[in-house]
């Protein structure tokens, strides 16, 4: 009797041990490498940046705690304001033009059965070309003395004689155009994939009900790709506030801050002016904006929006 009780107790212990191993320890072991990587590569530097945002630090030597001084300076910094406005403009451009073009392109491409792969690849190729190469190509196309503008002006379109990357009025839109040139094809491929996942019977039903192509798009396609659409909108907003490469490669934020964005101003503060503490404050403000956007989406989802 006592032996049986001991046996049962041993089995219970063993089962508990195995359950703890399987349910608690093992999952942690699996995520541990990634977690460690995240702590070292993401969480650590993020915490460091957040700390340095409250310091005066040249990037060399010890940092001096200054409290909210960097943030107070941000509030009155004319260049920061110009950069912020440019980021907002950039976001609005990217939320409208490439998204609309992507939707249009994918909607037109979706019914095509023959040669669709060719178009998919053709749209996608600019996306996989390095930004350094893309910017060099467009720098030549938009060249002020031998580029497309001069050629068109010589053929009668005088208004095209514009120094696209040198004029304050055109520079931000020109860079956005170059960036969109490589970006919108990616959206086409993304939306196309989402459209192809929609049940074809829904289209058949719509056609039987006499729906036009426009109505099919409005009542079948759009609701079908809504999660993808919302995801791209969310990412577009976040990426628009982090944009750096195309602007830095083409104009470094000039002329006269006309294409300055928060990330280029951050870079100059850290690496030219030795104001790493102030640069960290700019970085924190950028993260704050992105967090607000993500929080907005989370709230909408909780309120029942199907996004």
């Amino acid at each position: 009797m006592r032996d049986r009780s001991l046996q049962a107790s041993y089995e219970l212990k063993e089962r508990t041990r195995q359950r703890v191993w399987r349910k608690v320890i093992l999952p942690w072991l699996f995520v541990a490498p990634l977690l460690l990587l995240n702590v070292v590569v993401i969480l650590g530097p993020s915490a460091g940046s957040a700390y340095y945002a409250f310091t005066k630090w040249s990037g060399i030597g010890p940092a001096q705690w200054v409290g909210l001084a960097n943030f107070r300076r941000l509030a009155g910094d004319r260049v920061y304001h110009m950069a912020f406005v440019n980021n907002v403009k950039w976001t609005l451009i990217f939320l409208t033009v490439p998204v609309t073009m992507g939707l249009l392109g994918s909607a037109l491409l979706a019914p095509i059965k023959k040669g669709q792969m060719f178009f998919r690849i053709a749209y996608f190729v600019p996306y996989v070309i390095a930004s350094v190469v893309n910017t060099q190509i467009w720098r030549n196309i938009l060249h002020p003395t031998r580029g497309i503008g001069v050629m068109l002006a010589e053929r009668g379109l005088k208004f095209m004689d514009v120094t696209f990357l040198g004029s304050r009025g055109t520079v931000l839109y020109t860079i956005a155009f170059v960036d969109m040139w490589h970006w919108w094809g990616f959206l086409v491929v993304l939306y196309l994939a989402a459209m192809q996942a929609i049940n074809p019977q829904l289209y058949e039903a719509a056609r039987i009900e006499g729906a036009t192509r426009g109505q099919e798009f409005r009542y079948v396609t759009l609701p079908g790709i809504l999660p993808t659409l919302v995801f791209t909108v969310l990412m577009t907003i976040i990426w628009s506030f982090l944009v750096f490469d195309y602007i830095y490669l083409l104009t470094q934020g000039g002329p006269a801050h006309a294409s300055e964005v928060l990330s280029t101003e951050l870079f100059k503060s850290a690496f030219f002016r030795f104001e790493v503490g102030y640069a960290a404050a700019i970085g924190v403000s950028m993260s704050f904006i992105c967090t607000l956007v993500v929080a907005g989406f989370v709230i909408l989802r909780r309120r029942g929006w199907e996004i």
Partner: protein
């Protein structure tokens, strides 16, 4: 179980082992220097007292006598020290130039110093890589920075060692150009030596000038006449751009400060005896703005912001532009544009832009070299540094691979020092520079003598003056505010006194 498949348990165990290994490796102490002992047989002279029987007056007597003899002994000694390895990170030039630097500098040094091994690492963007390494308490033995403003930050943080004893030992003060030596002295101690020196001149298309019958301007009136002649012939007087390198605008700002406001006034402002808001400086910036607004630079302000450096050199080489105010680093790149166009280039010193202001050559250093305060081999690093400066012929041999546009260490050269076949236009500059600056006629460049924040403001915000968003007076007033802040923080690089 399939022997080729790994069980979950094995997989987890392997992951844990790998993670443990990584953590252990990361936590392992850094081996700084290996102490090696070895046993050797040595001969030792020992003294011994021996008893000897001698006969004294027929009677044998035992006496003690000291004798020396050689014995062999096995002892443990420190092995001969390993070679001191000196690391030196250098901004990466082209492959051919790297080969010259390796061959003429590294290999000759290593051959002459059997106990030291100099290791050169060519790195893109060396400044940013170095900043991270230095902040982490590491970094190479020899520390390269892009200029005087940058090295000041390292000095303030205590990352670089004073070089006074090395300077005395090697006689650097006597060997280097005095102003170049002084540019590395902070708080009475030498911390850095310039790797290269340069100045600003006016390059021009000689073929075009000869064809048009234009002479070299020597004063403001002649320069104005020349500009008018260029405009009349639909030729851009100057070509320049800041599209590829935004700080390029400061090259012009320095020229206008030195040649309109005057180098004496610039010096006074740098040491706080004058204000940047004084009329001379405001007028200098207004004149520069006026020339831009008239399209004297690259045809228009928009084009100044959009053309590439190659475009502007091509324009001068093809006669679409007449001149380019630029730095002597262009000696290394100007040639191919003129070879392609079949025309000839030359240079002249910038004339004075205002009566009573002396024409000068602006002083400028490129990269600086220092010794890491944490280096285990500071003496050896000093020897490696000295190897750059202790032989004019070797220095010029390296610099000749850059056509004397980079790695031009600031020594007192004469025409005879330059290798046979050196471009006479280049020799003419360095000889004239030594002569003119030697009599005290020198000006200042913003990237060598201005503190970082004010310097960045100057080149970045001048765009706002060009755009009409800021007046020259407002621009100078803001520059003064920033300058005052940096003076208070002790961030102004050393300025050579005038004599």
């Amino acid at each position: 179980m399939d022997p080729k498949r790994m069980s979950r348990r094995h997989f987890v165990a392997s992951c844990a082992a790998m993670a443990t290994g990584l953590v252990a490796a990361a936590c392992a102490p850094k081996v700084v220097e290996k102490i090696v002992k070895e046993t050797v047989e040595v001969e030792k002279i020992i003294k011994e007292v021996v008893k000897e029987t001698i006969i004294v007056e027929g009677t044998p007597q035992i006496v003690e006598k000291e004798v020396t003899r050689v014995v062999k002994e096995v002892v443990e000694v420190l092995a001969k020290p390993e070679k001191a390895v000196i690391s030196f990170w250098v901004e990466a030039p082209s492959t051919e130039r790297r080969e010259v630097i390796n061959e003429v500098y590294r290999d000759t040094f290593n051959a002459a110093h059997p106990n030291i091994e100099l290791e050169l690492t060519f790195t893109e963007d060396v400044d940013r890589v170095l900043r991270t390494a230095m902040q982490a308490g590491a970094g190479p033995d020899i520390v390269t920075t892009p200029g005087a403003g940058f090295i000041l930050e390292y000095i303030i943080a205590g990352h670089v060692a004073p070089l006074d004893e090395l300077a005395e030992h090697y006689g650097w003060r006597d060997r280097l150009l005095p102003w170049a030596y002084e540019s590395g002295v902070v708080g009475g101690h030498l911390y850095s030596l310039p790797l290269t020196y340069e100045s600003m001149v006016v390059f021009y298309n000689k073929t075009l000038f000869e064809a048009k019958g234009w002479g070299i301007p020597t004063n403001r009136e002649e320069l104005d006449d020349l500009i008018r002649a260029c405009v009349a012939d639909d030729i851009n007087p100057f070509e320049y751009t800041n599209s590829g390198w935004k700080p390029a605008t400061e090259h012009l700002i320095g020229m206008f400060y030195d040649h309109y406001a005057g180098a004496d006034n610039v010096y006074k402002a740098l040491i706080g005896e004058k204000k940047w808001t004084d009329d001379e400086f405001v007028e200098a910036m207004a004149l520069m703005n006026d020339w831009f607004q008239k399209g004297y630079y690259s045809g228009s302000i928009d084009k100044y912001h959009a053309l590439t450096g190659d475009d502007t050199w091509s324009a001068v080489a093809n006669g679409q532009g007449a001149m380019q105010m630029s730095g002597t680093w262009c000696f290394q790149s100007i040639g191919p544009f003129f070879e392609e166009s079949g025309q000839e280039w030359d240079w002249f010193p910038m004339p004075s832009l205002r009566k009573g202001v002396k024409p000068v050559y602006a002083l400028a250093t490129g990269q600086t070299e220092s010794i890491n305060a944490k280096s285990m081999h500071q003496l050896e690093a000093g020897a490696a540094l000295d190897w750059l400066y202790n032989n004019k012929r070797r220095a010029l041999q390296i610099s000749s691979s850059f056509n004397f546009g980079e790695w031009m260490v600031p020594l007192n050269y004469t025409a005879d020092d330059f290798p046979v076949g050196t471009d006479p236009r280049v020799v003419r500059f360095f000889v004239d520079f030594a002569k003119v600056t030697g009599r005290g006629d020198y000006g200042y460049t913003t990237w060598t003598f201005w503190p970082a924040k004010t310097e960045v403001f100057l080149w970045e915000e001048y765009d706002m003056v060009l755009a009409g968003e800021m007046t020259p007076a407002e621009y100078q007033a803001r520059a003064q505010e920033l300058f005052d802040e940096e003076v208070a923080e002790g961030k102004v690089p050393p300025v050579p006194e005038r004599f």
